[in-house]
Symmetry: C2
Subunit: 205 residues, 2 copies
Amino acid sequence: MLSEKIVAGLTEQLISHLFVQVEASGRHVHLCRSDIDQLFGAGYQLTRIRDLSQPGQYVCEERISVTGPKGTIKNVVVLGPERKETQIEISMTDGLALGIKAPIRQSGQIHNTPGATLSSEKSSITINQGVIVAKRHIHLHPDDAARFQLQDNEIIKIKVFGDRSLIFDEVVARVNKNFKTSVHIDYDEANGCGFKKDMLGIILK
Amino acid sequence: MLSEKIVAGLTEQLISHLFVQVEASGRHVHLCRSDIDQLFGAGYQLTRIRDLSQPGQYVCEERISVTGPKGTIKNVVVLGPERKETQIEISMTDGLALGIKAPIRQSGQIHNTPGATLSSEKSSITINQGVIVAKRHIHLHPDDAARFQLQDNEIIKIKVFGDRSLIFDEVVARVNKNFKTSVHIDYDEANGCGFKKDMLGIILK
């Protein structure tokens, strides 16, 4: 009876220790139709230059400046496609430079977040909300979610290795058939954990 | 017999789960006598303006600029007292701005590390080594080390809480009778874990 339990425990451990790709996301903006119109001209279409790891998401040629009470960050990349609402994702380090106290939020949850001024070469707009620090998360394809026995919105841990090895707690699992499985952290987290390209993590439930 | 083991296991767990103060260290330099002479004048004495949490360590009025191949960071604080060897502690974010690939090292371990140019208002010097990213560590007074059952140089884990909760792995315990017990992380790690002043951590062995 006891040995059965031990075996069951070991199996659980094995299932819950699995490698996933870790990616670091730099600061970027997603723009809504009306903000694209105002920044780049009515009906302007964003220019795709490179696909991102998440299917359908891409880097655009367009760059904008983000300005807060304390400073400006230039040359911030615009990611496509356009979204229902404009969202600016920065690091806490960026927030200090801009003087914007952005909360840690999941993408899309921009209610009650601070705004900023966005500028293209042509014009500027001030948005009232939309600046967030992205909450660390794992994109999961449903096949991987099933294999790892993870549910959408489940909170898991991810361990990374190296001389700044650490275990990220509070990683939100987001399951969607359009996702490629990978962990997304921001550059503060990346620097804090000694991130290197093609770094792998292990899922700890 | 089994229940005794369970109780022993629980006691061990309780001992290993203890709160400690977490502090974030900003970029700073420690200067040796000859570098002080060259930057500020022969025989110059550093000006103490505020004590640090570690007994005997203090913030100086003096500020210097640190320059690497890609940029300069101005207004870097000098910490006293003077040391046997000059050491510049930056974050990985700083390293990117400076164009200096600083390794993660314990304080004092500056063999084979990159150099930088240091400038005061009076003069500049170029040092051949001494730029590091500080390896996260816990300063322990021997009384606390005994209470927590930790040895000098032991590697432990520290868990911190909040919406960027994580477990720092690879935390070096440094035990010295001159230390006040506290965990030191840098600003990348601080931003990566949602650091707030007076944050507490839990020791996990």
